[in-house]
Symmetry: C2
Subunit: 240 residues, 2 copies
């Protein structure tokens, strides 16, 4: 994956490049882990599979360690190599995206913990269809965001931003559905509430994937597109 | 506030210092706004005061703008001044804390939006005592975290980390209480659920304040204390 990264490709032999390559490898490894954590957390919930939950919990330490190592590596690059222009943007963007990846891992952990509770209680009667649907979309978003980052592909990043708009809408709709479940049958309030927390976590994961995608556009185009509507971002990206 | 900052005090006349002072002033201004946003959002909710909600919503644009300006300023400092040691840590920490401050503003906005909904519905019967209590604690945490950042006070930062442990415990307890309210009287499920979302937001605000406090320790002590227990942090801080 690192070889496809245009920043790494444009000065193959520099010391900056060697340092960045090392951090980039960790960044991509961490991305792979958190993507798997989200996948496993959703499986744990939907298939009431406690082992999957344990796996998500087990990986947390690795994600935390990688987060610290990546930031340490980036700080050393800034201190020693004084990167400029796209190289500097790459370092800054990776630092921001690093935080978002760790938070995705956190949300996966919250889902895994809830899955464990629901396993012990014998599963939830309602809300799993919504979870499966939004869960699948969010997994695709993480994958696409990390792939866009690996290849520095602004168009793919734009797709992620568009997907997040859908997720937010579907999350709102699913929340309303689950609330009617609770009102219809108050015996299940506690269980349905757990599913609501899961959906909230998935919606947050979507936000973090969007943040990562925004950083891709920052690296490639030099545009800070946070707090900007997708339509406006699209215009600005394509006018460069 | 900027004059008390030891990083700014230790080389009064450098160009780095002038640039950092400018960014620092924006950072502190943003901190003041988000602190006020949280205060107003809680007031809006507890006193069913729609004007307070509108004020929180109005400030969002300013917070977003400041976030972008602060990151832009920090990027320019990195590109032009090549800071090292504590100066570099200050820049990196401010970049991380900037994200946390903006997220605090986001959570305040969510609370304000819920307050507006509850105002229209005629307030919520239950859960306000818990909200008032946790809300007050969280407001103190933000204030202390920003003050610790302004004065680079690692001991004050430690206090914030300790406070977050309390918040998390009280949040868990309040959540259980609100769940029993829902089960006891399902007519209020929708309203109590809104209060639950508020508590969730306040708990997140506490996490962001903790993150900012961790950055203070990073600047002052050169220690990355994320993912470390408060007791261990205390030991490591005091052995330096």
């Amino acid at each position: 994956m690192t070889l496809k990264n245009p920043v790494l490709a444009h000065h193959i032999s520099s010391q900056f490049n060697e340092d960045l390559q090392e951090v980039n490898a960790k960044f991509m490894a961490m991305g792979g882990i958190v993507e798997q954590q989200v996948t496993n957390a959703i499986h744990a919930l939907l298939d009431t599979d406690v082992n999957m939950s344990l796996d998500v919990q087990y990986q947390e330490k690795n994600v935390n360690r990688l987060e610290l190592e990546i930031d340490e590596g980036l700080t050393l690059i800034l201190a020693r190599r004084h990167p400029a222009a796209i190289d500097l943007r790459m370092v800054i963007a990776m630092s921001k995206a690093n935080t978002d990846m760790e938070r995705i891992g956190d949300e996966a952990l919250k889902i895994a913990n809830i899955a464990q509770t629901l396993c012990e209680e014998g599963g939830s009667p309602r809300g799993f269809m919504e979870t499966r649907h939004i869960g699948n979309q969010v997994r695709v978003m993480i994958h696409e965001a990390l792939d866009a980052f690996a290849r520095l592909d602004a168009d793919q990043a734009l797709e992620v931003l568009r997907a997040d708009v859908d997720i937010d809408r579907e999350y709102q709709s699913a929340t309303r559905t689950l609330m009617t479940y609770m009102i219809e049958d108050p015996r299940y309030i506690s269980r349905v509430l757990n599913v609501l927390w899961v959906l909230r976590s998935l919606e947050r994961v979507g936000d973090h994937a969007r943040n990562i995608a925004e950083q891709v556009i920052y690296i490639v185009k030099g545009l800070d597109v946070r707090h900007t509507s997708v339509d406006e971002i699209e215009q600005r990206v394509h006018s460069r």
